[in-house]
Amino acid sequence: MLSCAASAVRSGPSTLFRGVGLRGMATGQDLKLPALPYDYDALAPVIIPEIMEIHLTKHHQAYVTGFNNALAQLKDAEAKTDPSAIVGLQSALKFNGGGHINHAIFWKSLIPPKAWPAPGREFQPPSGPLEEQIKATWGSLDTFTAKFNAAAAGVQGSGWGWLAYNPETKGLQIATTANQDPLQPTTKLIPLLGVDVWEHAYYLQYKNVRPDYLKEIWKVINWKEAGDRFAAASKV
């Protein structure tokens, strides 16, 4: 019943050579696939378990493996001080590294409704300072959600929707990134919540109807996590 996500870590060449680089040098710093904080079926019926399992063990795993491979090649290129090779690796590092960063945030942005302390509550809205800031920025949670969904639905091709904290304006904003561009390294905005709008995130269940996926996903969004991130980001 419980498909432990930790078992997924055993797949992929990165774990075979964990701790040993391609040239026999100790690395000990390979990225590892994280475990989900919940079972594959915990987010049903909003997201079916088949999607969760493939999303983690195939897609996220591929980013982890791809990043570790690119990192190993980078270390070789650095050892030789080969600028051509180093520059050539940037897109693979950004794509795979970003893929890992984004998905690690995504799994934490979601929570099974049953995990909420108040039994019978299907949906736990934001509270405290984050709730105040959302109201101050958009007027209401509903307005925020509508704007977020419009932005996320409008991402052309593959990408992500984000609720973000802007450390310069000290305010909240909705942002999108393309492909696997990670939010903070590319924009300096701090992610509080992320929603994957790559087709692999919803296609088996929602097919082409991304807006339906976006409507439903708010039932499993982890506002406590967003609140914690907001507290940490706004303290600095």
Binding site: A62, Q156, G157, S158, G159, Q180, E199, H200, L204, N208
Partner: protein
Amino acid sequence: MAPRAAHELPPLPFPIETFEFHWGKHHRAYVTNMNNQIQGSDLEKLSLEELIHKSWNNGEPTPVFNNAAQTLNHTFFWESLSPNGGGEPSGKLAEAIKKEFGSLDKFKEEFGAAGATQFGSGWAWLVEAGGKLAIRKTPNAVNPIVNGEKPLLTLDVWEHAYYLDFQNRRPDFIKNFWNLVNWDKVRLG
């Protein structure tokens, strides 16, 4: 120029159930949304290719580009496929492939690699560029005609093209493409 009628979703050149979503939903949505975007404007007078060039806007595409280009891309994609496809090209095309890539297998390898390494959504293409054959990969909706190149063959590598049948296994989808490819539709020169 007289206003032209709204663009129509062209019929699939063959009946294949798998494409109900890809053609019936995705392709149809691109056509519908494009028509809505250009309704009542001068853009209505343009042919599809003219609309693509215009909305490409020298690399700063306007909103209708996505829908217009995806309309053309998908129409061209269906023509790149056939239920009786596969096999090998012949004649001038076969010679040109051998000349440019060394062998059909090497061509398939390179074309496949282009499709597999397009990060995110996009397309793999065989094009005619500067009188020679070449392989391209483009992101999202971009069609090589915006660079003045002539598409000969294409493969959709957006996830919606393969997810129901192959899930994450894009390389398997690409391998299967060679069983469906419609070499007869590839027109050189």
